[in-house]
């Protein structure tokens, strides 16, 4: 916060850092410090990127990656929020599921690849299975924290005022849990992208990941790097969007608006 006020645009040092990285990648192979067959200079990666962008296959794959990501994320968030609210508001359910959740949550989604291939082959379903599984826990756990964070006094007050069950969810539970839901959403959005690309890369489900694998198999090293850059850029854009959305929608919340200095 303070640095933003003092130092002007906080994005500027970040951009300088990026420019530095691009320069290093350009120089390393040019100075023969690394073999340019394995790490082509920035300029050649950029040229390969320009070539890719002009093909319809690229945009089609990008669309497929975004589609799988979005569907998987929506399913995971809806399921995570609902499950979180139900489990979180019933102490018995919470006690019953706690050990199961703690057992299932750390299972790396990629370990489910054989199962996904068996069930859905090299199709969208495989990607969705992995994405939903990984993203679901991110949301669920955050929502559980959020529900547990409800101020007992506020809850009791609402009860004293004879709020209906729905009224208590709407006016007490939901506003408390919302920042947690957003944190869960933001984490899930990044994890979902990671898993989408992983599934495409490993299983061969349609999308950018599969294009990366094809480029690798075709010995098109510069194209491979270009596509990796695209997935990276996608991650940055997704993160920026979720952060901006979080700030806008939670503008009223103290975690965003900041404490009044005394």
């Amino acid at each position: 916060m303070t640095s933003a006020r003092r130092g002007g645009n906080p994005a500027r040092p970040g951009l300088a850092g990026l420019a530095g990285l691009l320069l290093i990648v350009e120089l390393l192979p040019r100075l023969r410090l690394v073999n340019d067959r394995f790490l082509p200079p920035t300029s050649r990666i950029a040229a390969a990127l320009a070539d890719e962008v002009s093909t319809s296959t690229f945009w089609h794959s990008l669309g497929e990656t975004l589609y799988a990501w979005a569907i998987g994320l929506v399913v995971a968030v809806v399921a995570g929020v609902l499950a979180g609210l139900v489990i979180g508001s019933v102490p018995l359910l919470r006690a019953l599921t706690a050990s199961t959740v703690e057992f299932l949550r750390p299972i790396p989604s990629v370990a489910l690849i054989p199962l996904a291939v068996l069930l859905y082959g090299t199709q969208l379903g495989s990607t969705l299975l992995l994405v939903c599984y990984a993203a679901f826990w991110q949301v669920l756990v955050q929502v559980l924290y959020g529900v547990a964070d409800v101020d007992p006094v506020a809850e009791e007050t609402a009860r004293s005022f004879r709020f209906s069950a729905w009224g208590r969810v709407r006016h007490v539970l939901w506003p408390t849990a919302l920042p947690y839901v957003f944190t869960g959403f933001r984490l899930a959005a990044s994890v979902a992208l990671v898993l989408t690309v992983t599934a495409e890369l490993v299983i061969g489900a349609p999308g950018l990941g599969k294009e990366i694998a094809t480029a690798q198999n075709s010995d098109a090293v510069a194209t491979m790097y270009a596509l990796i850059v695209v997935t990276g850029a996608l991650g940055v854009v997704i993160n920026l969007l979720t952060r901006t959305g979080e700030r806008r929608l939670l503008a009223w919340h103290q975690s965003v608006r900041g404490e009044v200095t005394v």
Partner: protein
Amino acid sequence: MRRRLIAGLTLALVASTVAACGSDKDSGGSGTSSGGVDNVTVGIIPIIDVAPIYLGQSKGFFKSRDIELKLEAGQGGAAIVPGVVSGQFQFGFSNLTSLMVAQTKNVPVKVVAAGVSSTGEQGKDFGAVVVKGGSPIKTAKDLAGKKISVNTLKNIGDTATRNSVRKAGGDDKSIDFVEMPFPTMQAALEGGQIDAAWVVEPQLSSIKAAGGREVASTFVDAAPDLTIAAYFTAQKLIADKPDVVKRFTEAMNESMTYADAHPDEVRQILTAYTKIDDKTRAAVVLPKWPTEINKASVQTVADLGTQDGIFASAPDLGKLLP
């Protein structure tokens, strides 16, 4: 009140999960026929070897036989055999060694068409063992005791390499095979992690272009005009829809004959499903696509594999080959 809320939330959760599961299902409807046209899905690996099927698709060799072809180029070749057996794919492309492994385990698969064959020319084949330019390894005999990379252990790569070393009078038992994907072999070779690499095109061309040297044409050493891979199906499909299988075989044979006669069109169709750059595309050694399966050569590979202990029991080629 509270109970009703919980019931409502639970119901919503169940509903959303069910909806989610429903959307996961792919409604491809492969294997079905509509209006006399059969939808056929083929599991392949996106490599040069399968160029004829892409070419045949674009030339309409399948459509003219009422086959609507869908090609599934998953990365994992290992997923193709289970995919065909489970009916996810009607046909699949696989190398014969893997099919023989499946056969010895009584997996119900049967070859329906040839897939790809060696060119049969020493030094001019699409697969070989290569070393770095300055390597002291000069002949296949020198490979004894060295570290050689193959894409899959206990498969055609190590069997064929062992055979080449034995033929040259070297000790094949002392070879240290390591498994790594083809695309990483060049870096491993230049970095000195391996002494030699068993590679196929397009990596073979690019290693040679970077100064690498070929020391053994393993497919050529194994058998003259070796049939390396084939298209296969599940025995259930042969029993249920012999007509579809017959038409697929015909279309496949026409595609391969056409591909063999039109190498320029093969090089062109590669742009449709690979990202091989123009220079490499013009330089790669194309395999041969005869429609006949060279049974003697397959028997040789079966014998070599049995000798090396790849198969639990000797493969029964009568059951596997058409």
